[in-house]
């Protein structure tokens, strides 16, 4: 499978393994990423590592303290682990109403 080939072609030192998960983007982050969602291959073990990786790769400017993380539709702490198949969302400051 081509996707897996690519994943194994980008090993990251110190990782416990590469996983694929879905990241959804909203508001500022959607504008900066230029995508509503994507499948991400990552060696990140938790939400914080994942955000830092994506921020560095795509120039996401929102600081972690302005975001909250949701994994599989539940808001969680930054140190929550991420697993293969998860849907991860970094929620910018909300402005409903």
């Amino acid at each position: 499978m081509a996707a897996l080939d690519i994943v194994f072609a980008m090993p990251v030192p110190g990782s416990s393994g590469v996983i694929q998960l879905t990241v959804l983007y909203f508001a500022h982050l959607r504008d900066q990423r230029g995508l509503d969602s994507e499948i991400v291959s990552t060696t990140a073990a938790d939400a914080q590592s994942l955000y830092r990786e994506l921020a560095a790769r795509h120039g996401l400017s929102l600081p972690e303290k302005s975001l909250i993380v949701a994994i599989n539709e539940v808001m969680v702490r930054w140190d929550a682990p991420v697993h293969a198949g998860d849907t991860v969302v970094f929620l910018p400051p909300v402005s409903g109403g």
Binding site: L24, F26, A27, H28, R30, K65, S66, L67, I68, A70, E73, V74, M75, V76, R77, V89, L91, P92, P93, V94, S95, G96, G97
Partner: protein, 146 residues
């Protein structure tokens, strides 16, 4: 129907109001947030909302459930619009029915505060000059007060 909904259609405020009917109800408090033509001194042309639907519905429903625990409410409902909104359109609707009016007002205002603070919805303002900006917004608290 869910007690809290996210919709990309005009909020049917008449239908939502009808769902507040309850034979024990003596007071209905309703809040509508509508698109106004100004924000912090700038003329606004229209708004566009994005929402993370499943988490918005879950979070809104949790807020309503918490309100039902804090006040003796008979009915508590809410709806948030997403997509393109023109001036005067309803962006959010909150409705509460209770036996007496004090708790209806208190719960309705509290629910609206919580919706603004926690429901994952984002507002982009388009100004009269054509420029756009995301509203400043609130950083979501992970553990809201119960």
């Amino acid at each position: 129907m869910d007690d809290f909904a996210l919709t990309n259609q005009s909020i049917d405020v008449v239908a939502w109001r009808r769902r507040l009917d309850h034979p024990q109800a003596g007071g209905l408090a309703i809040f509508e947030g509508v698109v106004r033509n100004h924000h912090q001194g700038r003329a606004v042309r229209h708004l566009d909302y994005q929402g993370y639907a499943p988490l918005a519905v879950r979070t809104g429903s949790e807020i309503l459930a918490t309100a039902r625990g804090r006040w003796p409410l008979l009915v508590a409902l809410g709806c948030h619009r997403i997509g393109h909104l023109d001036i005067g359109e309803a962006a959010v609707w909150i409705g509460v029915a209770s036996a007496h009016r004090a708790e209806a007002f208190a719960a309705c205002a509290w629910i609206m505060d919580e919706v603004k603070a926690r429901v994952p919805v984002w507002k982009r303002e388009t100004y009269a000059d054509g420029s756009v900006a995301w509203a400043q917004g609130s950083v979501v608290r992970l553990d809201p007060p119960g």
